[in-house]
Symmetry: C2
Subunit: 213 residues, 2 copies
């Protein structure tokens, strides 16, 4: 029974994510989610109580994507800067391809219309990037004069801005090209010995970009 309840919960989160991503929070009703998931409205209320809590469950599923991705990347690269850049491309692809991540992102932008507090997406990333940059400093790869904590905040701002623009201008189709170009700028300041294009090649980043901005 436990397993079946979990399957139902997962199916409901997935159906809700698909609809929130396409139509937004206000444009999605419990009966739409019922129709897409093949579950009754009663089952939805039983598992989540209301639409707010279902939106929160989608945002939490979005957040749950990251720890496994982060530890996978930690096993793949010795250099902390390479790990950071590789991680950023994995995150960018998830924002482009993963409906739960896309839905969580759209719900966050609509948070003022949702009557329950949603967790802020930035603080965890600032910690993660800060740890990687401190390690890069210990490995002698970080430019002198930059505090890892300050640089981490700037990297997170730049990534989120890149994502916002990419979403607005082309529905994230060119997000990898945009991220490649962004790293050319950021690595010029971050690296003790700048070799941005080589580092991007080492982590298998697609590019160089032929994007007309």
């Amino acid at each position: 029974m436990q397993g079946r309840a979990e399957t139902t919960r997962r199916c409901l989160v997935e159906a809700a994510a698909r609809l929130f991503e396409e139509r937004g929070y206000a444009g999605t009703s419990i009966s739409d989610i019922s129709a897409l998931s093949g579950r009754t409205s009663g089952a939805i209320y039983f598992h989540f109580g209301n639409k707010e809590q279902l939106a929160l469950a989608v945002v939490e599923a979005h957040f749950a994507t990251w720890p496994e991705m982060i530890s996978g990347i930690h096993r793949s690269y010795e250099s902390a800067l390479e790990r950071l850049v590789a991680l950023s491309f994995s995150v960018a692809r998830a924002f482009r391809d993963d409906v739960v991540v896309r839905a969580g992102s759209r719900l966050w932008t609509e948070r003022r219309a949702i009557d329950t507090p949603l967790p802020a997406p930035f603080l965890g990333w600032i910690d993660t990037v800060g740890s990687l940059l401190r390690e890069a400093a210990e490995q002698g790869e970080l430019a002198g004069g930059l505090a890892p904590e300050t640089a981490a905040v700037g990297v997170v701002y730049a990534f989120f801005g890149m994502h916002t623009v990419s979403d607005a201008l082309d529905g994230r189709d060119q997000i990898e090209d945009r991220l490649y170009d962004l790293w050319l700028l950021l690595l010029a300041g971050l690296q003790a010995k700048p070799d941005a294009r080589e580092l991007l090649t080492r982590v298998g980043a697609p590019g160089p970009s032929c994007l007309v901005p």
Copy 2:
């Protein structure tokens, strides 16, 4: 009569901006705008036709803020990089203090709920920053190996991301501190001879930050 119509239009845009900024597009009605502006609903429909067109007028008034600000800065600094940094602080303060700018920004994030296309805010900034960075390159201030157009896109991403995080975490209260920290990272990559803190002092930027991120 022309002057009076213009005054009415301006008052309506200002009242609408105040309400859109506070309550969002969906949370603001024509009768709220009528009450705050002291104008009849009939006057609102006469001047704007519907709520969508009034939202568009607020976004257009937001856009109209920038040309004068940009030309004011152009007269104040010889160095194109100094102009860029000074301009960014003026823009950040407008996002913090100017209700029309704040309203335009909120309407943009709610654009999918507004049944009329709103102009995209990024492309004009990419052009403006690109021109300044090309001039910085001619002045010998831009680091070699960075194409001004690519760097401009990254700077605009980073600024918009900083604004998004600042809005989400503290309603933009600390936007100047955040921007100061962002420039420490970006100038490390942009400047031919990095002296970020000195440049920030030369343009009168507040800081250094004592922000806990």
